[in-house]
């Protein structure tokens, strides 16, 4: 039966997609279920995009273990999957003598967690490294291995690679019920159903809802709103390291960081909310970000804002990642409470979950074999903006579509957009194109290229203009023809 799988992964975020990729090494049949029109639509697309080194997590915790291991894997993984990654370093800045013990504690904790290269900077050293940072800073903890990454591109690349290696991706598959019958889970979405021997629950803020579908009420996920503002590349250079303030119990505080694409990201706020679908920003939150960032960089007035957005952290009442089989059914494996440092930990979490899932199947006598023809990487996507003139000249001669620039702000060609649509796990909507190739990500926010990308999507997906959406569901751009 084609809709019967060895393993079903619920949730196409960075954890779900990387787990799918890890499992695609084996001959097991794997399905990745995503409730939205695209992967990376939850916390993965709206977070700080930081690869934390692991000095913050409580020693001995899953967070500490996975963070340190995951962040060490990140660079190679990004190189293999051709995902933007940059080792820019990170600084936790202390703003008063009161905070100095906190920095020292973080140093010791980081060393205990196995983080390499950590050291405390004096106020002078800090000023030299980051001249824009507050003169009132008393010092900082410097983590030279701190890095930045494009989280949604990581998930997209992982999904593409997984699908290329045989994983089935089902989008718009919102799991509403799970039943256990004849040694199989039946996962039901509206009008659709699949069955699987083993389930990996990587459903982000919805992980507790998914767990409750099998009667597992062992943890609770609290959505915690984090608001961000993204600034134009004209603001690039205000800081080069990622600048943190001393962490509080609500998280790592407001940071200011360059992004891998040369923008500046400021955020997040932290506020516990009830609605797991509420991705709205608040005027109070946005104002607050300005105030708090000025503690780090006093002279800095936020300007040239491209966009603001909200991400929901999947905060767990157990205050650690939950990476284990359910007590209700050992064939049901949780990856829950994946809040910060979840992105940094994701590469390690994925390997760990794959082991757990394979172990669960092994307990039932199913022994997977490794595929001989498994592809570790994906074809490097064309980025005409980053090409040398000679390389671009040759490429356009071979395929003229790369010579037609569609997005002027980010210099994205028609050829790149076609690639994004036709890749495995390719883009189905405007935001999908945007996250894959950056068309519409720049300063005009798709004002010019949006109409062209819409036409390309309609043509390539063979759907009418009115059916093209911003991000699936009811997010159509056009309602019908003019009179």
């Amino acid at each position: 039966m084609s809709d019967c799988y060895d393993i079903a992964i619920v949730g196409g975020g960075v954890v779900g997609t990387l787990t799918a990729r890890a499992l695609s090494r084996t001959n097991l049949s794997v399905v990745l279920l995503e409730r939205c029109n695209d992967v990376a639509m939850g916390t993965t697309k709206a977070n700080s995009a930081i690869v934390h080194t692991g000095f913050d997590a409580k020693p001995g915790s899953m967070k500490a273990k996975m963070n340190v291991a995951g962040s060490k894997m990140m660079r190679t993984l990004c190189e293999t999957l051709h995902v933007p990654f940059k080792n820019n370093g990170s600084l936790v800045v202390g703003f008063s003598e009161d905070e100095r013990p906190e920095l020292e504690a973080l140093l010791v904790r980081g060393q205990n967690n196995g983080v390499e290269g950590l050291r405390l900077l004096s106020a002078e050293e800090l000023q030299q490294m980051e001249p824009m940072v507050s003169k009132t800073a008393v010092g900082a903890l410097y983590a030279p291995t701190g890095s930045i990454v494009s989280p949604f591109e990581l998930a997209i690349a992982a999904a593409e690679n997984a699908v290329r290696n045989g994983v089935t991706l089902l989008r718009n598959f919102e799991v509403e019920a799970i039943t256990w019958q004849e040694d199989m889970f039946a996962l039901c979405a509206p009008n659709r159903q699949i069955t699987a021997r083993t389930v990996v629950n990587a459903a982000g803020v919805h992980a507790d809802d998914i767990a409750r579908m099998i009667g597992d009420d062992s943890f609770h996920i609290q959505p915690r709103r984090g608001e961000y503002v993204l600034l134009d590349s004209s603001q690039n250079g205000v800081v080069s390291n990622t600048i943190f303030q001393c962490p509080s119990k609500m998280g790592k505080g407001v940071l200011i960081a360059p992004t891998v694409h040369g923008n500046v990201l400021i955020g997040p706020s932290a506020e516990d909310i009830e609605d797991k679908y509420d991705l709205s920003t608040t005027s109070a939150g946005l104002r607050n970000i300005q105030t708090i960032v000025n503690r780090s960089v006093p002279a800095y007035v936020i300007r040239d804002i491209i966009t603001s957005f909200t991400g929901l952290r999947a905060h767990c009442d157990k205050d650690d990642f939950i990476l284990r089989a359910s007590e209700v059914n050992p064939q049901f494996i949780h990856a829950a409470g994946i809040e910060s440092p979840g992105l940094s930990a994701a590469p390690a979490i994925a390997e760990y979950l794959a082991e757990l899932a394979i172990g669960a199947l092994a307990a039932r006598g199913i022994q997977p074999t490794e595929k001989a023809d498994w592809l570790a990487g994906r074809t490097e996507p064309v980025r005409i903006k980053e090409m040398s003139p000679e390389a671009l000249r040759t490429l356009v001669r071979k395929n003229p579509a790369y010579g037609r620039v569609v997005c002027r702000c980010e210099t994205v060609s028609e050829g790149e957009i076609l690639d994004a649509i036709h890749a495995p796990a390719g883009a189905l909507d405007l935001d999908g194109v945007k996250r894959r190739v950056r068309a519409g990500m720049g300063r005009c926010q798709g004002g010019f290229c949006g109409t062209k990308v819409l036409a390309i999507l309609a043509e390539e997906l063979k759907i009418p203009y009115e059916a093209v959406t911003k991000c699936g569901g009811a997010s159509q751009i056009l309602i019908g023809k003019t009179k």
């Binding site: 993204l230 709205s280 920003t281 005409i384 620039v405 210099t411 309602i479 003019t482 009179k483």
Partner: protein, 421 residues
């Protein structure tokens, strides 16, 4: 590497007028690069009338206005046109200018020119720049994007419309959407006055009973996947929302007409000095930037109210570029201009003292004035002044300064344009 006398970047009204004027002044080897498939720029989607009243003395639609220039441009032996071509970079090096561009047919083009005219136009300010709280659903478009969907593609973005910002495109689209059967519920304007032309407020809003809500803005967006409503609120004199005035308006589209930004990425890349107020380059009376041989005109230089003025300005740039190519260099020193006391900016920012013809100073005020006097002075000497029944930020004003007046000024003098109460 192909070499040209002049490369014009942008085939809208500004670029075409500059290229044609350069040809008229004897330049034989002009290349015009346009990123769209056709010449005409944004005029192609402006199917309403009102263009050309000043320049042609008749009322034309946008495409008709553009066509007058496009026909000449395409027929010209001196002008080569490449459409669907994106310029990636402009660099000035040892007196020549290197333009890098790409298109499907030629691939990557490395071009050189003695002079370059920048005529890239402007773009609309997007939602993100406004930092409106709420969700990020489909249904929020800049007015110009909506205009393209409706007028060029033949599709409607919605039928219950709120427009934020009373810029001209917003006003035009209020009428356009109404004519296409949509219900335009209101136009909200943050400022206590509209930044659009009076004629557009009358013809596009008043004639259709569309309310213009001044000192009012959108403070929150509602709707998960598609826009469902916006919350509007009145604002105080500091443009902050007034608590208690919130009102939620159901709608399926929000069109933004909240300002135009000159597209100066190439200008900055080649190192030209910029004016912080206009967001365009600093230029002299020929619209030459601080980089010798690089000229700028049209909405890339400063946002114009009427295309007629874009044409006039671009002719100056085209003539200036032709003079530059032919080795004619200005001598005799310069004065600078400056807007103060209510005048936001003046273009050109620099004026040569030795002129054979009068020089027009264009300026805009920062707020609405009634029965005010504007004047140009140099120190205590008043060069020109006039009374105006109404001055508004939406309408460009000008002063003509005669050659003898300029010649009488000391080198490096400052010409000040101001509103006098």
């Amino acid at each position: 590497m192909s070499n040209y006398d002049i490369i014009v970047i942008g085939g809208g009204p500004a670029g075409m007028a500059a290229a044609l004027e350069a040809e008229k002044h004897g330049v034989k080897n002009i290349l015009l690069l346009e990123r769209a498939e056709t010449l005409g720029g944004i005029l192609e989607q402006c199917i309403h009338t009102g263009f050309g009243l000043h320049f042609f003395g008749e009322e034309l639609s946008g495409p008709e206005y553009a066509d007058r220039f496009a026909v000449q441009t395409e027929a010209s032996c001196a002008i080569t046109v490449k459409t669907d071509t994106m310029v990636l970079d402009v660099q000035a090096q040892d007196g020549t200018h290197i333009v890098t561009a790409v298109n499907k047919e030629d691939g990557l083009l490395a071009l050189t020119a003695a002079a370059v005219v920048l005529a890239m136009g402007c773009r609309e300010r997007p939602r993100g720049a406004l930092n409106i709280a709420g969700t990020r659903p489909a249904g929020i478009l800049s007015a110009g994007t909506a205009q393209k969907y409706v007028n060029l593609d033949g599709y409607m973005p919605g039928k219950e419309v709120v427009i934020l910002g009373s810029g001209d495109i917003g006003l035009i689209m209020a009428r356009r959407m109404t004519l296409e059967g949509a219900k335009v519920k209101m136009v909200c304007e943050l400022m206590p006055y509209s930044s659009g032309l009076t004629r557009n407020i009358v013809q596009c809003l008043d004639d259709f009973d569309i309310p213009l809500k001044l000192s009012c803005t959108v403070i929150e967006i509602h709707g998960a996947e598609h826009l469902e409503a916006v919350t509007i609120a009145k604002v105080d004199e500091n443009r902050r929302p007034i608590a208690g005035t919130e009102e939620t308006i159901p709608c399926d589209s929000l069109l933004l007409s909240v300002g135009l930004i000159p597209e100066n990425e190439l200008t900055r890349a080649c190192g030209a000095a910029m004016d912080r107020v206009t967001s365009g380059a600093v230029v002299n009376e020929s619209r030459e930037t601080s980089i010798p041989g690089v000229f700028a005109c049209g909405n890339v230089l400063h946002v114009h109210d009427l295309v007629d003025y874009v044409t006039l300005e671009s002719q100056l740039a085209g003539a200036g570029a032709a003079d530059y190519v032919q080795g004619k260099r200005a001598t005799g020193g310069e004065v600078t201009t400056q807007g103060i006391n209510g005048v936001r900016y003046v273009v050109p920012q620099r004026v040569g003292r030795a002129q054979s013809e009068a020089v027009k100073l264009y300026f805009r005020v920062g707020q609405v004035y009634k029965n005010a006097c504007v004047r140009v002075r140099c120190g205590d000497t008043i060069l020109a002044q006039k009374k105006r029944p109404r001055l508004a930020p939406g309408e460009m004003e000008d002063f003509l300064i005669k050659p003898d007046q300029l010649a009488s000024l000391p080198h490096d003098a400052v010409l000040t344009v101001e509103v006098v109460a």
